[in-house]
Structure formats: C-alpha cells, structure tokens
Amino acid sequence: MKQTMRPQFLMLTILLVFPISSAGQHIYNKERDEQAQKALPLAEALKTGSLFETQLRNLASLAKRDFDTEFLVTKFQINAFSLDLLTWEKANTYICLNRTLRAQPDAIPSSEAIQASIGELTQAIVSAKKSLEAFKASVKKNEEKPDSEEENGDNQSILASLIERLGDLESVQKFAEGLGKADIKLITPKTMQALNELKEITGTLKTVYDAYTAKVEGFNELQGQLADLRIVLKKVAIESLQADEQHWKNVTAIRARREVDRADILHLVNDYMGIMRRLRLVDFTAGDPGSFCTAANNAAGLADGIDIRPRQMIAEHIKELVRRSGTIEQDNQEIMREARLALSRMKRPLPPSEFEKLVTPTLTALEDGLDHINPDDVIHQYELDIRDGEQDKKLDPLKMGLSDDLSMLRSAARDTSAGNLEAALRLIIIHRQRDLVRIRDMVADVPRALYTLAALIARGDTPDKLAELRFAQELHAYSIRKSAVRARAYELTVSTGAQRLALFHKGGIKPTDVAELVFAASNVALTPAILAR
C-alpha cells in the first residue's frame, strides 16, 4: 500500500505547487498554436513578394531590353548617317525627318494662350479633387460608429490610411507650372498639345473618381449579411482606384518627361536652324521653325530657282568660307594698319587742311573692304548689307560697320578738331577688332552646325521612341497591377472570413454572389479608363 500511494502523493504535491510556481507555463492548445504559427509565414510571404511583383520585375527587365534594342538602332543610325553626310541638303533632310520637328505643324502659341490653357488645366485639377473628396466621403460613410468594436476601428484606420495616399496630383500641377514659367522661346506648338493631354488625363481621373464613388455608394446600401462585406469591398475599391490613379499619373509622367526631352532636342534644332540662316543656306521665316523644312525643300528643289549651295559639299563650303573670312580679315587688318599709321602721324600738330590727306589711306582701305562685300557673293549673314529695314541692322554688322566707319571718318576729316579725328580713328580700330571676332565666329558656324547635327543624330528621335516604349510598358504594368488588386481582393475576403460566412451561414448568400461583388469592386473604373485612352 505504501508503494502504491507514492505516485499519487507525488502528483498531489505537484498539483498544489504548480499553479503558484509556474504561472508562466500553459496548457498546450493545438488551435492557438496553429494561429500563432500562421502569423510568421504570413509575414514571410509578404516580405518575399508575390507573383505579381515578380511579373513587374520581369516586365522591368524586358523594358530594359527594349531600350537596349532602341539604342542599338540609334547607334546604327549614327554610323549610317555620318557616312552619308556630304552636303547641307542631306543634313537638312535629316533635320526635317526628326519627329519632334515634324510634330509641329501649328504656329507657336502665344504666352496668353499658354496661360489660358494652364488655367483650364488648374480648373480641371480642382474639379478632379472635388470628385475625389466625394469618393472619400462615400468611403467614410457608415464606418464612423462611436461604439464600434475594436476590429471595426482598425478597419476605419486602414481605410483612412488607404485614402490618404489618393489624390496626389501635385506632379501634374507642377508640370503645368513649369511650362508656364518656361522661356517663351522654348514653347512649341507641342506645348499646347501636352497641356491638352494633361487636361484630358485629369478629366479621365475625375471620371474614374466619380465611377468609384457611385460603386462605393452601392456598397453603402448593402444590408443584412452582405453588409459584413462592406469594409472589404471598400478596401478593394480604394486599392483598385489607387492602381487606376497611379496609371494615369504614370502616363502624365511619361508625357511630361517626353516634353522635357523634346525641349532639349528643339533647342538643338533651333541652334542648327539659326546657323543655317546665318550661313544663308535656308532662307526661312524667323520665329517660325515650321517654315524651315519648306524653305529647305524649296532650296533643294527648283521652286526658288537653281540654288547651288545646298548641293555643295560641306567640305567645299568650309574652304570657301575660310577663304572669304581670310579676305575680310585681311581688309580689316589693312584698315587697322592705316588707322594706326594715321594716329602715329597725329602725334605732331597738323593743320586741319591736312586731315583729309592724312586719313585717305584709311578711307581707301575702308572703301576696298566695302567693295569686297558683294551681296551676290556673300556666304554669311554677317556680310550682308541690308539698309532698308532698321530692324535688320543687327543682322549685317560687317558691311554696316564698315559703311558707318567710312561716314564717320569722312566727317571727322572735314572737321577742324584734331581731337575728333583722333577719336574717329581709334573707334575704327576698335570696330575692326570687334569684326575680327565676328569673322572668327563666322568660320566657327560650320563646325558648330556639324556638332549640333551630330548631337541631333545621337538624340534626335529618342525622346519620342522611348516615350512610346514607356507608354506600352506602362499599359502592361497597369494590367499586372490590376490583376494584383483583384487577387488581393480575394485574399481580403478570405482573410476576413466573409467567404466562410457566406458558405456556412444558414440561408446566407452564395459564394458566387461574394465573388461577383469583389470582382465589381476591383473593376469599377476599367471601362472609363480604356475609353479615355
């Protein structure tokens, strides 16, 4: 008996001591253990990413390859075109094939028109934001119960957190403001098109917000067992709206990026056109880049008569220009030499009657210089003599300068003041030195045009081509993101137990009804999004 009782006494002792000494221990519960264990893989699974994230990564990888292929084409074009470049006609043809230039058939808009368009865009943004506020109010409706359970409170905070991330249209607004502040010379007809596109996108966003508001209002009407799904459906609707909004913001960013890149290309094109105008190779209307290609085609064809220069080899043109600049430089050096000699002779006192004789060599040098600038022979705008229009005076500095200096020296020679004559001679030397700089610039215009052309070959169509690629990739990525939202919708319904509720509740809703509601929540704005594109 003594031996039989030993285990019982042992157990009794353990039982009496156990509750006091081992409060930290617990009785094993399989269900709780499973619940606790589920938390870990859940977090792990979210960390490692999902199928859709992998798809987006793969898409990014493919996008990079698309870009690489496009850049290979550009490299090929660089090699092919540089080997084909012999005449300015070829160079101008290449410029006129540039997409950015071709895409500008309209006139440059006025700053008033741009400001008006920006005003309309700002109004569209305000309108879209109002629609978004209506959506937010609709989401909050029925969810703000003071005596709500803790879980409901959590749902409210999740909804609030999701809503907070919506409606950031700052990037659109900033882009518009950037255009408004831009130098008017950089504004192109494409600027107006870009603003119109932004207005369309903002309008589409407003439509999307309105469509989601209508859908969420429908969720607010859900009664009975279906009301249990309301929070879940709202979450799905918000996440789906986020995907839609992000898509349109990405499209805006792609177009804004294209405009910024195009502005650089247009800057290069304008530089090139300016040089062509100075070299008198294309006589187009200043301030109207669109007329450049018409004028270039006319010059290359027979519309303006037979023009030799566009068909002249660039290398020959350079030789001619260097030769011409050499002659002008020689004339200027001669004028300066004579002027300096006259100044040195004026160190001793001279009677006014000898003034004219003193400056005659300088006057002759000036007249020779003027004679050498024959409007029929000039190959650079600097040489031209256009006296008729005062506004064009700035365009003919060489001949105008020589002509003015000649008049000034003649007048001073007839004067009785030695001081005036000396001043006139000094001014002539200064003017000729200034013209030497211009002559150097004149020669440098050809290499500048060639290097600008080289930059255009390297970058030319890239902004437009890459924008097209980016847009195609964004459409693909958008499709993946929408699929991810749909998958997330089903995860949400399962995780909240709504589906279980639907399956097991006596006389409850069918699982197919739940599926339909979830699908509707994740697809609400698909149709307007497609239409607006």
Binding site: T4, M5, R6, Q8, M11, L12, L15, L16, P19, A23, Q25, H26, I27, N29, R32, Q35, K38, A39, L42, A43, L46, K47, G49, F71, T74, K75, N79, S82, L85, E150, D154, S161, E170, N250, A253, I254, A256, V260, M313, I314, A315, I318, V322, S325, G326, E329, V443, A444, P447, R448, L450, Y451, L453, A454, A455, A458, T462, P463, L466, R470
Partner: protein, 248 residues
C-alpha cells in the same frame, strides 16, 4: 483517495487554464499595441519619405540634367572653336572623310553621355520608389501580424472554455493513468527480481525462502489485480524492467 486527487486535479486545471489563457491574451494584446504604434511610425516614415522625395528629387534630377546637357553644349562649342582656329590659321584642309569622322565621333560620345539620362525613369524616382515600396510592404506585414495577434488576444467563449477544460482534464486523466500503470508495472518487476534473489540466496534456509517468496507473491498478485482494475496494458506491464535502484 483517488477521487480526492481527481477533484484536486480538476480544480487546479480550472485555475491553471484560466490563468494561462488570460496571460497569453494579455501578452498578445500588449503586442498588438506595440505593433500598432510601430505601424503608425512606419506610416509616418512613408509620408515623410514621399514628402522628402517631392521636395528634392525633382530639383536633383533637373540639376543633373542641366549639368549634363549644358556640359555637352560647352564641349560642342569648344570643339567647334578649336576647329575654326585650325581652319582659319592652320595649313590643314578639311576633307569629307574628316567631317564624317568628326560627326560620328561626337555623335557616339553624345550618345554615350545622354543614354543614361534617357534611360532614367520618367520621374527619376525609381530608387526612392523601391525604398518606399519596401516600407509599404513592411506596413502590410504589420497589419497581417496585428490581425493574427488580435485573434490570439480574443477571449474564448464560455462553451469553448469548458470544452477546452474538459479536453484538458481528459488528457490529464489519461496521462495520470498511464503514469500509474507504469509505476505498478515497475513495482511488479522489482518484486519479481526480489523473488529471484531470494530463490538464488545461499544464506537463507529453505523455510525462510518459502516464507519470503510467498509474501512477495501476495504483493505481486495484489498489484496485478490493481493493474487490471486500472485497465493497464498487460503486454507493456510484462515487458517493464525494474529500475536498478528498485531492485536493490
């Protein structure tokens, strides 16, 4: 005595189960609070990062672009000026192939310099987005974990508690019976070892041996009867060995 033990056991279990569950729930509840606070911080961090990006990234990207483009423009002007000087004052004449080379060389250099710029994401925020997405993911993880812990923090229903208690008591009784059977089997095995020692003894007389063996057999029979009453496994009982100390 056994009834008293069982009663004590059940009372202890009631106390133990209630205590355990409340502690675990409180622990989970505290963790939920901590997680929520952490999640709030993470959300704040995300918002701060986004604001930081908006304020600075556009300026940085623009400055980088201007630096590159204006640098290339300066380089073109430098090259053109250099060539103009050579043409104006040098003896060398430029040929069409020189022009081809000049254009191709610069175009390739310009292409290499601008390619990275063109390849950048539309809004130049890829790196920022990557870090923001990681934070968003962390926030989602926290939401999932919070939910899991909330499940653990919920009190059980009364019926569920009773069910759990009944289940625990049943498991407890089963284990107690198993331990008792094991104890009885060991006692029997040790008594049998003792019987063998008496039989093999050279110091005891035969009558002493008979008397000793009979007493031990009485104990063995009583223990076997107890084992049968407890529904102990007979095979297991027969296979049980006497621990060393018990046989001594």
């Amino acid at each position: 005595m056994k009834k008293l033990l069982l009663l004590l056991s059940i009372l202890s279990l009631v106390f133990l189960t209630g205590c355990d569950d409340e502690n675990a729930r409180n622990y989970a509840k505290e963790l939920v609070g901590v997680l929520k606070s952490y999640q709030t911080e993470v959300n704040k961090k995300i918002a701060a990062e986004q604001k930081s990006y908006k304020d600075l990234a556009a300026t940085h990207a623009y400055a980088k672009q201007v630096d590159l483009i204006s640098g290339l423009r300066t380089e073109r002007l430098r090259l053109a000026d250099s060539l103009a000087d050579e043409l104006q004052h040098g003896d060398d004449k430029i040929t069409p192939s020189d022009i081809h080379k000049m254009v191709a060389d610069y175009a390739h250099a310009d292409f290499a310099a601008t390619r990275r710029l063109f390849e950048q994401e539309s809004d130049g925020q890829a790196e920022y987005l990557a870090s923001l997405e990681a934070l968003e993911m962390q926030s989602k993880n926290l939401t999932a974990l919070t939910k899991a812990l909330q499940e653990l923090a919920k009190p059980k229903s009364k019926i569920k508690q009773l069910k759990d208690l009944a289940g625990a008591a049943e498991k407890f009784k089963g284990k107690l019976d198993e331990l008792q059977c094991e104890e009885i089997a060991q006692e029997i095995a040790c008594l049998m070892v003792r019987q063998k020692q008496i039989s093999d003894s050279t110091t005891l007389t035969d009558p002493q041996k008979i008397d000793g063996l009979a007493k031990i057999q009485t104990d063995i029979d009583r223990l076997i009867e107890l084992s049968t009453g407890q529904k102990c496994n007979e095979t297991k009982r027969k296979g049980t060995q006497c621990p060393d100390k018990k046989g001594q």
